[in-house]
Amino acid sequence: MYSDKVMEHFNNPRNVGDMENPDGTGEIGNVRCGDITKVFIKVNGQGIIEDIRFRTFGCGAAIASSSMLTEMVKGRHVEEAVKITDIEVADNLGGLPPQKLHCSNLAADALKAAIKDYQDRQK
């Protein structure tokens, strides 16, 4: 049901954990709908995401999507990163089973929330 890529990311997730003094934090999800993902970002003066960390409560797809997203985002400008869609995340994972598609959504949304938090703090 899961692609090899999903399984690999699930088993060796990139950028897991907390971050001291993040420039932005986002949290999406709740227990009722299923999964909960937290994303922390560090952004440099040029608006480039220099570091990213996540923590996820959720199924294999949720963890793998979070991991994949952090890989896709690192080194990108926040304006670019905010445009990353759940579909791109799923595609980069070699696809997700239909009933798991919303998991990639969660990761992308948590990132957006973190970027918004970062932008709010800039104001």
Partner: protein, 389 residues
Amino acid sequence: MDRIYMDNAATTPLEEKALEAMMPFLKENYGNPSSAHTFGREVRKAVEETREKMAFLLGAKPEEIYFTSGGTEADNMAIVGAARALQDRGNHIITTSVEHHAVLDTCLALQEEGFEVTVLPVDQHGMVDPDDVRDALQDNTILISVMHANNEVGTIQPVEEIGRAARESNVLFHIDAVQAVGNLPVNVETLNVDLLALSAHKFYGPKGVGLLYVREGTKVNRLTHGGGQEKGMRAGTENIPGIIGMGKAMELAYSQLEENTRRMESLRDRLIQGCLEMEEAKLNGHPTRRLPGNVNVSFEYIEGEALLLSLDFKGIAASSGSACSSGSMNPSHVLMATGMSEQTARGAIRFSLGRHNTVEEIDYTLQAVKESVDKLRSMSSLYQGKGER
């Protein structure tokens, strides 16, 4: 170490002796049992011998046994067939909130045909209270359907007592014995049942074959139409190798029942014990009245599916939720029915032990569970949240 299979409630490996018994029917004995010639008669004879054997083991008569394509078909035949046959007498059906979907969804689908369905609650261990069954009985109640043992949490229901209540009120009683057969002594007389479903692949028989027991004199409408097989009750050319293999598997299961039960209970208790020694772990299901191989534990702050996949990487096959619905995102309806939080329900993992498991496998599994739980918790947004609080 070889891969470790601990998902015997989802399906079991086919017993070698059952496969041996099937082989002639996969090769030279290929006749259609409905055929009048020798090829057909030879197969008919073997099928009827299997029917007699299985009837005997269940405490039934051969005429009361109908072969099906599995447990689901048998459950559907029993419930829909009996309900429709009795709709002149009443339209009320009683079942429970922890049934397999093959029973629960079938009962609920009957609502569209005008039947009224009472879904009984269970206690925190997943047990039905026979008094609740008695209280739910109405003048128009025609059928009670309760599972013998639960596939997810392993709780063994008080089916004998419910059977007595049904008998006293003259209401048909169906049990879904899919998880019970091979694990418990199942006998239609001592259990007071009128209808009983079982599935071969749950007791080391082949997949795609099962059986419905229908007590003599019980009217059940047929669901499918076609040839006159199984006295018109179940049309379609029979899965002959399947039937033969099922008979052999059942014979073995019954003859080794006590010995296997004892072995599995001791492995089960060792695994439960080890799990509960870990931080914030909780046993689901009944502490004592549970299937000999069932271990269902919730680990807080993590997701059962993630734990399952993590264990799979370590070569261990387990399940989160029931096998059939592991594709769905909802927490198990069985666990929710026991009154736990969604988060705890989602943290559940089921190990269902079988004949082939060993003490070494249990100990390896405990080690693997500990590592996996720790790793997943270290990644969990909830565990973190807890630390902060």
